[in-house]
Amino acid sequence: MGFRSYVIKRLVYALIVLYVILTLNFVLFRVMPGDPTKMIIDPNFTPEAKAELRSQYGLDDPPLKQYVTYMGNLLKFDMGLSFSTRRPVWSELKERLPNTIKLFLCTFILTSLTGMRLGVKAAANPGSFTDRVVITAGLFTHAVPTFFIQLLMLLLFGYYWPILPIHGTMSAPPPAGGWNIFLDRLWHLVLPVTSNMIVGFGSWALYARNTMTEALGQDYIITARAKGISEKDVLYHHALRSVLPPIVTLLFMSLPGMVSGAVITESIFSWHGVGRYLLDATLQMDYPAAQGAFYLIALAVVISNLLADIAYGLVDPRIRVGAGGAK
């Protein structure tokens, strides 16, 4: 009982959700307007040739059989061949995934940490100069569309002061030496990550500030102060610690949104990642590729929700009890 049964319960929920999403993913592509075969079958083919091709792709099977094949193949990470490149979708995704994860982790960690640090600082001194600057700047950049800031940064650092790389994940040809390659890749991360930070820190700062302001008004904060605890400990050990559960949840809940946000960032900075792959696949009506990318994103969403639940249970003792007894 206790934490383990809680985790198992969450895991089962996650699997159910994943199953539903995958089913929807299957249905959605089949009720969408447009005929996928148009992309691969030349309209000038004879009806016999068309039918032959359709059966090769399994498109003439009854829907239920298609569904079973689809599920079975997904379990083996077999997402079929891309219509446009005729390569297995999974191997195409696999080579882009590390780039997306890299971009995404840097953005995620830097944005949330910066935002929260500023938010806590603002909450500790409400009405101060720091507070007003953080809130105003955070609200402003949050309200501006991501792509606008990113295009602006492209213009600034690609055209007026061309000091930063504006596209790709690395220089071509790459510099020699392992260390130089690492630095080169890092250097390419600067613009995409900072632009996301500028857009994203505001919501973190505001959220941290609001939850912290609320926590600082709680009775137990007065207790802590009355006990003679130093202000720093009151702020971090008592206030921040007590609002950690919702913040941790939000951290993990924001993961999926950032995955899809990658679509825009990756397109603007020509980043060789899953997001741009999804965009290209959709524009080219490359159904297997789009389906594969959707599958990955759905997987990311479900896993991050699962992690959110587990983390929540770890940081909030009250949740563990909800799962059936403290011990």
């Binding site: 137990y220 007065i222 207790t223 009355a226 006990k227 008592h238 610690r241 003792p317 403290a326």
Partner: protein, 330 residues
Amino acid sequence: MALVEVRDLKMYYRTLRGHVKAVDSVSFDIERGKAVGIAGESGCGKSSMAISILRLLPRNGEYHGGSVVMNGQDILKMPEEQFRKDVRWKQISMIFQGAMNALNPVHRVGDQIVEAILEHEDVSHEEAVSRTKDLFDLVGINPNRFGEYPHEFSGGMKQRAVIAMALACHPDLIIADEPTTALDVMVQAQILKAIGELREELNLSMMLITHDLSVIAQTCDSVVIMYAGKVAEYGSVMDVYVNPTHPYAMGLVKSFPNIHAERSPVRSLPGFPPNLIAPPTGCRFHPRCPLADEECMTVEPPLREVSRKKHYVACHKAEIVEQGVDIWAQ
């Protein structure tokens, strides 16, 4: 000399519409080993006074004069850091309304007490833990529950834990702010009994804030009746309860049914507490007072000793009230 002498204490809240005079020229003493009860309606400045003494003012709170002298030192003038280390919890601790939110929900109850000990005393963690377990025992909580979280405690147990916490650093004075308000009467009685026994055992001074006059009668030696940020009446519990001399105090005492007296309908005080941004001129109670006249509306009554020693009243008409006339009879 009294352990704590509060003199002319003024603490106002800054608001957009002006200063809220929550504590306005309040004076009283707390003797060593004695308990003082502070009573009054909601919003009369009781809790504001508690946080003024512990210097826990919210951002918009300001001192506007007065002093709180403890052990010969004005603790309001002390540097903040020294006050935090030497006075808070070591000399003055506080019992909060534990049933509510006084314990941090994400920390173990025991750890929250250990934290207070470690902050003020140079002892090892193990020693702080064993002292905390002793405290648990003292207030009647099984020491095995050291590692539990506040939500695993009942309301009464939380209140006991909060009391244990207040005792952690052997303070001279404990301020108890509505320690039993959120508890049902049975638990309330247990807690009050526990507080009374601990006070006797440890020779503690206490300042008990409550709106419940019967709680004060049960636990305190003297009582301060506050009205609109000011002291209306101050004296021994016996004097004030038997011979309430301020019309407000008399109204308060009369509004409590007496189990030994003849049956009579419980009366309430007509009217509402005044707005403390612009309190009434003269005596602040005059709009609600049946005896109010011209003088009451213009001249503020000073706190003065009436016929009994150490029984102070701030009322121009104290002599009339003293004769025992039931001024609240219609």
